[in-house]
């Protein structure tokens, strides 16, 4: 990853952490000061969806033109996306505890998000259960496409069709409820970009480590042959 992208991510995150805690936010009942969690909880999910999208695109590309390099990218992006998703669900539970009354409310948005994470967790179980490299890459690429296709309705569509307390679901407006003057967007979007870039950075490190591992294996094979 390019150094200027890393520096942009760092600058954005520093700005978000300062502005997110210090700048004024709309005064709303029940939410009170916790409205600021929006700057930290929601970017986790946006980052996850973007990383899963990249993973999904590489899966399609893998099926079109199989190569171990593409397979490494599919895994790395899905892996970092899953980490962000787990952080998203944990922060959501903490937030729900103080605004909805309990950490797990069985809200359609929460349930959908949990199922989506389990679907992606199964992706790694599937990979772990196959020994043949080519077979593993091909089957898991197909599964990854299915996982992405399942995640979108689980997180974005089903919660909107039923009643949900989560903003942006079940007839609830998304952000419009909070940011009448859209001042929150000036912090929220930088947060999304910042965390997404950090996700890309970590994924790039993971891809490089995997590449090194495979090169070492190749060297060892060359010696023994």
């Amino acid at each position: 990853m390019k150094t200027w992208l890393k520096l942009t991510a760092i600058a954005l995150l520093f700005y978000v952490h300062i502005a997110g805690l210090l700048f004024d936010v709309p005064r709303l009942n029940i939410l009170n000061e916790t409205i600021r969690a929006l700057y930290f909880h929601v970017p986790m999910w946006f980052g996850m969806v973007l990383l899963f999208l990249i993973s999904f695109i590489y899966s399609i590309r893998y099926l079109g033109k199989p190569s171990p390099e593409t397979d490494r990218k599919v895994v790395a992006y899905a892996n970092v996306g899953l980490v962000l998703g787990i952080l998203g669900i944990l922060t959501g539970m903490l937030w729900a505890n103080y605004t909805w009354g309990s950490p797990w409310h069985g809200d359609p948005k929460q349930n959908g998000a949990a199922i989506a994470l389990l679907v992606y967790l199964a992706y790694f179980v599937l990979r772990g259960s196959l020994d043949n490299e080519e077979q593993r890459a091909r089957l898991s690429a197909v599964y990854n496409i299915f996982a992405f296709a399942a995640m979108i309705p689980l997180i974005f569509i089903i919660p909107r069709m039923t009643s949900s307390m989560h903003p942006g679901s079940g007839g609830n407006p998304g952000f419009n409820m909070y940011d009448l003057d859209s001042s929150m967007r000036l912090i929220f979007y930088p947060a999304v970009i910042g965390w997404f870039l950090i996700g890309l950075w970590i994924a790039s490190i993971r891809i490089r480590i995997k590449t090194i591992e495979e090169k070492i294996l190749e060297l060892e094979d060359g010696k023994s042959a």
Partner: protein, 75 residues
């Protein structure tokens, strides 16, 4: 570049000006803010953030070193 910086600071100024919202009876952490204790919290969070990012940089460099070692070995 200069233009971009100008736009950035204009945006910052606009955001700050939203701070003149009217006080209402919704309870917020106003006391903590007026006492300045909020800056302690911000500083602590920034230290954690800086530490984690520095750690990420170090890991990045370690991987680079491994890559270099590997290319040396191949030749």
């Amino acid at each position: 570049m200069e233009k971009a910086l100008k736009i950035f600071f204009c945006l910052l100024a606009v955001t700050l000006s939203f701070g003149v919202n009217a006080q209402s009876d919704v309870e917020m952490a106003d006391t903590m803010r007026s006492e300045g204790k909020i800056y302690v919290v911000v500083s602590i969070i920034l230290i954690v953030l800086a530490g984690l990012i520095a750690y990420l940089f170090i890991m990045d460099r370690k991987v680079k070193k491994l890559e270099d070692q590997l290319t040396d070995k191949k030749h």
